[in-house]
Amino acid sequence: MAADRSTAAFQGFLVEAKQYWMSEVWTALKEDYRQRSAGKSLSSPSQVAALMADSPTYWFYSWLERHIQRAKYSGRYGIQKIDEPVKAPAGRRPKLRDVPVPAYYSAVDTHQHPGNLTGAPNAGLVYKASAQSTQPGATNRYGLHERFARFVGELGDFKHILEMGCGFGKSALPLAQKFARAEIKAIDLSAPCLELAAAEAAQAKVANVSYEQADLRHTGYADGAFDLVTSTMVLHELDTPALRESLHEAHRLLAPGGTLVHLDFRVKDPFLEFIHYGHARRNNEPYMPEINELDLEGELRGAGFRDVKITPFEEVDGATRPDWPTWRFPWTAFVARKP
């Protein structure tokens, strides 16, 4: 079923609540931290956690972050019940295989999505509905992903592109439109997401992208088959061994001179790390802290990459300004080249 009016009204309430949390509650929390930390020298997120442990503002901040997301999925008006037939026309279906779900992935219900993305057949639709309000203003209407495609476009003109962990095609579709003469392969573990991605590409009449079920650690493609490998919001969902394997696999898949571009998160500030790691716990994303703490430049070089560039990424104009007024993810682009 599509969302009924009551579900839409409830979900609208949640988006409003999330926006209030992103602006008013976030501002109050930062002010509380400013006052508590005045005159103190704090160098680690655990020191910030100790300082904020008895902050009622932080209690409510945490509760709302957890429960707005919980209510989005679960309960009477949760998007989990959204279901409708999703099938790309013949010739545009994704290539599905029996890919085992890795233990690091099945350990938790990521994003508080009960059953995860490899569970129910409607998991792709549910994820798409959820992603609209992950960071209202940035993650809805595909804006972030179109910006990412433009960013990649400034790095070169690519012909053979692999998108790792493509989900329901939010990045693969803008990439396919940006690189209209390229062939884009997009892989994911989730069959329901791939079904939705393929159906949306067919509906958008985008013919140069195809979707396949594969594990990004061992994709099965030939050595040097691509001149660009990308991902968005995938690295932080991997544990450290899986991330290392994915970097080696990307290196193997790239032709000499090929480019790797990952869009993910990076934060180096005790307060923002505290916020980021708290988000990880509240949103059931257990590997976020270890991936943030990993020396990714060193890991990329260790996997054979050179010309590593790690730069903050603006999901909307001005978002990386220090005085940006609302909560946001610490979007970061990781670019490297295979010599």
Binding site: S46, V48, W63, R70, S74, F274, Y277, P289
Partner: protein, 99 residues
């Protein structure tokens, strides 16, 4: 109650987390109702169907009353579910750092 984990808590008294859940659901439900009432008001006004005061005097058919009772039951289940304190999804295996 098989395989249910306890929900994370953020307040010094974990009962406050559950009470907050009830309040939040109630608030959201009020918005759902406001939305529907506003739609009805607009429709009724557009079509000139209902005179002022007709709602207070309303008595539905047996079937309508049964359906409203079912609605009420589902509403209460939803409203009070946070009191149970169970997570709706599987939690992080570790307590996490920083937060």
């Amino acid at each position: 109650m098989k395989d249910l984990q306890l929900e994370q808590t953020y307040f010094p008294d974990p009962a406050a987390d559950r009470i907050m859940g009830v309040v939040f659901n109630l608030a959201a439900e009020v918005q759902v109702l406001r939305d529907r009432v506003q739609v009805l008001e607009h429709l009724l006004e557009q079509k000139g169907v209902v005179a002022r005061g007709a709602i207070d005097g309303f008595r539905g058919s047996e079937e309508a009353e049964r359906a409203m009772a079912q609605e009420r039951r589902e509403y209460v289940r939803h409203l009070l579910e946070p009191v149970l304190g169970y997570a709706a999804s599987r939690n992080d295996v570790e307590a996490g750092r920083g937060g």
